[in-house]
């Protein structure tokens, strides 16, 4: 690749050909303001806040979408540039409902930050805000168009990253808005509730449905036995919500915190993840031995389940019948656990803390009541837990670490890695290998399957068997597999699908911002947790073995089938 020299504010800099002005400026420590630009998305050039002066040009250039030319002379900090940026900001603010004090994104709002940074201290334009029509139709996601600044990130992530296309640019000119087709509500369209739109929204125009109040109420209710499970990804992400470095592991502190605020028992979704491996691993073996539908695709990710139900219902047989760990936990909590500890199932409240917005919708699926009650009652996202931490005024970062309660809090390293793309596959293979061969798997770190890439594949030799596996994250990549199956070109045996880019650590309920750089750190945290555990294979989890012995019988047995497996709906488009 060729090099070009440019001059920025009097300073010469040499960069690769094809570099944008924005990137070139970054190289010499100039941070050009951006709004519609997102590090993980394509450049759009919508907001124009990144404009700079280029010598010999009458009009400004947008730094995000202009590549540098050799000899280009760029000025980023002239009076003209500063004033133009301020006017652009004022234009944006004039149609944004800025109720910053009570906004969910206050202090984490890119518009707010930029307004401060660009020294906008007076908006001279008339305010012109859409009538406030907040869409609360979905169980997971709330949309407030009166705050939307039309940067286009959510549309891009929905169409180009997820391939779903639930939200669109509608109308044009000053009437242009980000909308659902024919002004439908979120609940009416093929939204999978992945929440990626929330993660990329620079302002508070789209956010998770807040269920924290329900949790506080449950805890306060003296007649309720309230238990909680936390998902693998939460423990490496919550720290960000309270100002810690991405990837910080705060498992023990979360346990201590949840106990402090009054949960009766603090359990771990990881326990159920181990259980999932037992069931799913055996399901895979069953399918392999009995000419079952292959490839088998994982079923932990509720956004993915909604996607295939909406868009490829004819391929649902490929999806494992296993419930997700959250739902396996709920079903066992309201059957095995209540029986063992003599609790009336109607008096127990099961709360889960998930990196995911789609989990809120999963919990209320009508088939998720195998215990005779709704298996999981309230689902919070990582962000909501962060909010509860702040509201409680307890300094989580100062708490002494504590251990999960037994038995539903005991887990292995295999479960820990569920939070990252590739983790479920790796965990499953660790178990399947040993079940099939009867030998111990020495090298259990399957590096081929790790990393943030969207599409990975590998061949694993298990005894006589060569198992061909693929790991995909983000729905656009899942679609590739589905299309391969449709064309009869798919020779994988087992495919792990995670709806969100990067897996659960990139879920729609995770701390914002959550770009790839941050996701990588969360993934590092996940594998660090795995490494630090003495047991790293699901079938070695003593609590899981005990549940089978005392209650479930065996994997894929009758009771397991009733409580831990499910079926899917053929939603019509």
């Amino acid at each position: 690749m060729g090099k070009v020299s440019v001059n920025i504010n009097g300073k010469d800099v040499t960069v690769d050909e094809g570099t944008t002005i924005l990137e070139a400026c970054k190289k010499i420590n100039i941070k050009i303001p951006t709004l519609c630009n997102h590090p993980d998305l394509e450049t759009k050039g919508n907001c124009r806040i990144c404009i700079v002066e280029v010598e010999g040009q009458k009009i400004f250039s947008a730094a995000c979408c202009t590549t540098v030319r050799d000899g280009m002379k760029i000025k980023t900090n002239t009076k003209r540039v500063r004033e133009a940026r301020k006017i652009i900001m004022e234009l944006i603010i004039s149609s944004h409902r800025d109720e910053c004090l009570s906004c969910v994104r206050s202090n984490n709002c890119e518009l707010q930050t930029l307004s401060k940074e660009l020294n906008v201290n007076n908006v001279t334009f008339d305010k012109n805000i859409r009538p406030i029509k907040i869409d609360k139709s979905s169980p997971a996601i709330v949309r407030d168009p009166s705050k939307c600044i039309k940067c286009g990130r959510c549309v891009e992530v929905c169409h180009d990253v997820q391939g779903v296309g639930a939200i669109y640019n509608a109308f044009r000119s000053s009437d242009m808005e980000i909308s659902l087709p024919f002004e439908a509500k979120l609940d009416d369209v093929e939204c999978v509730y992945c929440g990626q739109c929330i993660n990329v929204c620079p302002v508070g125009a789209i956010y998770e449905k807040d269920d924290t109040e329900n949790v506080w109420d449950a805890i306060e209710d003296k007649n309720k036995h309230v238990i909680v499970q936390i998902a693998p990804a939460v423990r490496v992400s919550l720290g960000e919500e309270i100002g810690m470095e991405p990837g910080s592991i705060v498992t023990g502190k979360i346990v201590a915190f949840l106990r402090r605020i009054g949960f009766d028992k603090v359990f771990d979704t990881n326990f159920a993840a181990d259980l999932t491996i037992m069931e799913e691993g055996n399901e895979l073996l069953y399918r392999l031995k009995n000419n079952g539908t292959l490839p088998m695709m994982t079923s932990c990710s509720p956004g993915w389940i909604r996607y295939i139900e909406f868009f490829y219902p004819e391929l649902l047989d490929h999806v494992s019948s296993c419930k997700s760990p959250q739902q396996m936990f709920g079903a066992l909590a309201k059957s095995y656990y209540t029986q063992k500890f003599n609790i009336d199932p109607k008096d127990i409240v099961v709360v889960s803390i998930m990196p995911c917005t789609a989990k809120k919708a999963e919990a209320i699926r009508k088939e998720m009541n195998d215990s005779g009650h709704q298996d999981v009652d309230i689902v919070l996202t990582t962000r909501e837990l962060g909010r509860m931490v702040k509201e409680s005024r307890i300094l989580l970062e100062e708490l002494q670490e504590e251990e999960f309660d037994a038995p539903l809090g005991i887990s292995t390293g295999a479960a820990a890695i569920f939070g990252s793309t590739g983790g479920v596959m790796e965990a499953a293979l660790r178990t399947v290998y040993e079940v099939v061969t009867g030998e111990e798997l020495e090298n259990i770190d399957l590096y081929d399957l790790r990393g943030i890439e969207g599409f990975k594949e590998s061949i694993v030799k298990i005894g006589e068997l060569e198992v061909k596996v693929a790991v995909v994250n983000s729905l656009k990549n899942a679609k590739k597999i589905l299309e391969m199956i449709k064309k009869g070109e798919c020779d994988y045996h087992f495919v792990e699908v995670m709806c969100c880019p990067g897996g659960c650590i990139g879920g729609g309920g995770q701390p914002i911002p959550g770009n790839n750089e941050i996701k990588m750190k969360r993934i590092d945290g996940i594998y660090y947790v795995d490494k630090g555990l003495s047991i790293r294979k699901s079938h070695k989890n003593p609590a899981v073995l005990q549940v089978y012995k005392e209650y479930l019988g065996e994997p894929l047995g009758e009771k397991s089938h009733k409580l831990l497996h499910t079926h899917y709906n053929y939603k019509s488009k």
Partner: protein, 431 residues
């Protein structure tokens, strides 16, 4: 007046290949296919100094060179016939008068840049022209001038006609491309420019109708002969469409170098009913409003550029002094408010605020602050918008504020209601 590009309009049956051939039609194409290499053609067009007639006046030969130098098996030629600029109807005359000449230009362009497929994107409001184009294409196909192995040569070229649905923005090349692809017409940022990545991501040459109609002439007469027309910076002729308060309205072909005064008085017979001129708007709704003092300006790209004015599409709207200046500007801005695609902030939000502020001034509630706001917004729109629509939208406002500043001031001071600023803002500053 000249009779060069438009020489066949009205003279022949527009879709008759036979008629067209009688007037040297398709001779240029034959010469090209039999005797010229594609790169020679690019050179000829470069030498002719032909500049795009759609509005941006980009050197056509250079654009051809960009597309020709792209290494790609699939390339496209697009004829931009989405003539949507208010007051502009010169392409219509060519489309209805000599569609074969335009298509001949397109085929030559395809041969020169290495494209085998072309699209004519014609505005939905030109149903007659669209029908003529379709018939003309079909007649050329029958005669072997379009389709596989044209005239027995290796070169193949096909043309499809696509039609817009009335959105002004679709005349902007990237929005036009989106529209052909089947998406909503919305501009995108450049780069990549269409010659590198255009229709379906392939190298694409987008030329205006009038530009393409010039091609056969240049090939036939040779670039040196062609350059005898016009001025040193602007060669050839230009079709202008004149409307408004003027005796002779219509489309006229003029040689570059003619002054605006000559066009207005010698060709168009001056203002109707003995009225006085207020200004002419040059280039359509997105063009500059020029007062009488500037009428001696020559129709010449460089000379206009010196005045910070663009010739645009070549439309001239003649406005007499009975017009309500701010009302005129507001109407113009309302047009752009309606036609903005809504993608980028300056255009989406700016047009809206400008209309509102102009309205306030017209109602007698304007203040000095409003003039500042108008200046600020129009500056940001011109300098920061993503595409030509937003950049050119405030031109009428900017130029009338420049040439008729007093009228804006009068309106504000005459109606100035004391303390209105405070009333609106309710700001109390202590101390």
């Amino acid at each position: 007046m000249m009779n060069l590009v438009s020489r066949l309009c009205g003279k022949i049956n527009p879709i008759s290949v036979k008629d067209y051939r009688e007037y040297d039609g398709l001779k240029a194409l034959e010469v090209c296919l039999f005797n010229r290499e594609p790169n020679e053609l690019v050179d000829i067009i470069k030498q002719s100094n032909l500049k795009g007639r759609g509005g941006a006046a980009f050197p056509t030969g250079l654009k051809w060179e960009f597309v020709a130098s792209e290494n790609n098996d699939t390339k496209y030629v697009v004829c931009n016939a989405d003539e949507g600029e208010p007051g502009t109807f010169k392409d219509k005359v060519l489309l209805e008068g000599c569609p074969l000449q335009i298509i001949e230009g397109m085929i030559i362009a395809g041969y020169a840049v290495g494209a085998n497929n072309g699209y004519i994107y014609i505005r939905g409001e030109y149903p007659r022209a669209k029908k003529l184009l379709i018939d003309a294409i079909s007649n050329l196909e029958k005669e072997g001038y379009l389709g596989q192995n044209i005239l027995g040569q290796e070169f193949s070229f096909n043309i499809e006609v696509r039609s817009g649905s009335g959105a002004y923005i679709c005349g902007e090349e990237t929005a036009l491309i989106k529209s052909i692809e089947g998406d909503a017409g919305r501009a995108r940022h450049k780069p990549p420019y269409p010659p590198n990545e255009g229709l379906w991501g392939k190298p694409t040459l987008v030329n205006n109708v009038e530009t393409l109609a010039n091609i056969p002439l240049i090939i036939n007469m040779g670039p040196e002969e062609y350059k005898r027309y016009g001025t040193s910076s602007s060669n050839g002729t230009k079709l202008i469409s004149v409307s408004g308060c003027v005796v002779n309205k219509g489309v006229f072909e003029v040689e570059f170098g003619i002054t605006l005064r000559e066009i207005l008085f010698d060709i168009c017979g001056g203002l109707k009913d003995g009225k006085q001129l207020k200004f002419i708007q040059l280039g359509g709704a997105s063009g500059a409003c020029l007062p009488e003092e500037l009428l001696d300006t020559k129709l010449d790209f460089d000379e206009l550029r010196k005045l910070d004015i663009s010739l645009g599409s070549g439309a001239i709207l003649v406005v007499d002094d009975t017009v309500d200046l701010l009302g005129f500007v507001k109407t113009t801005m309302e047009f752009f408010k309606h036609e903005s695609c809504g993608k980028c902030v300056p255009c989406r939000e700016g047009n809206k605020h400008i209309v509102k502020i102009l309205d306030r001034i017209i109602q007698g509630n304007g203040t000095e602050r409003d003039l500042d706001l108008l200046k600020n917004i129009s500056m940001v729109m011109r300098d920061c918008s993503c595409c030509g629509l937003g950049q050119a939208a405030p031109t009428a406002l900017i130029t009338t504020m420049r040439f008729f500043e007093d009228e804006y001031n009068d309106l504000i001071h005459h109606h100035y209601k004391k303390d209105i600023d405070k009333l609106n803002r309710e700001v109390i500053v202590n101390g």
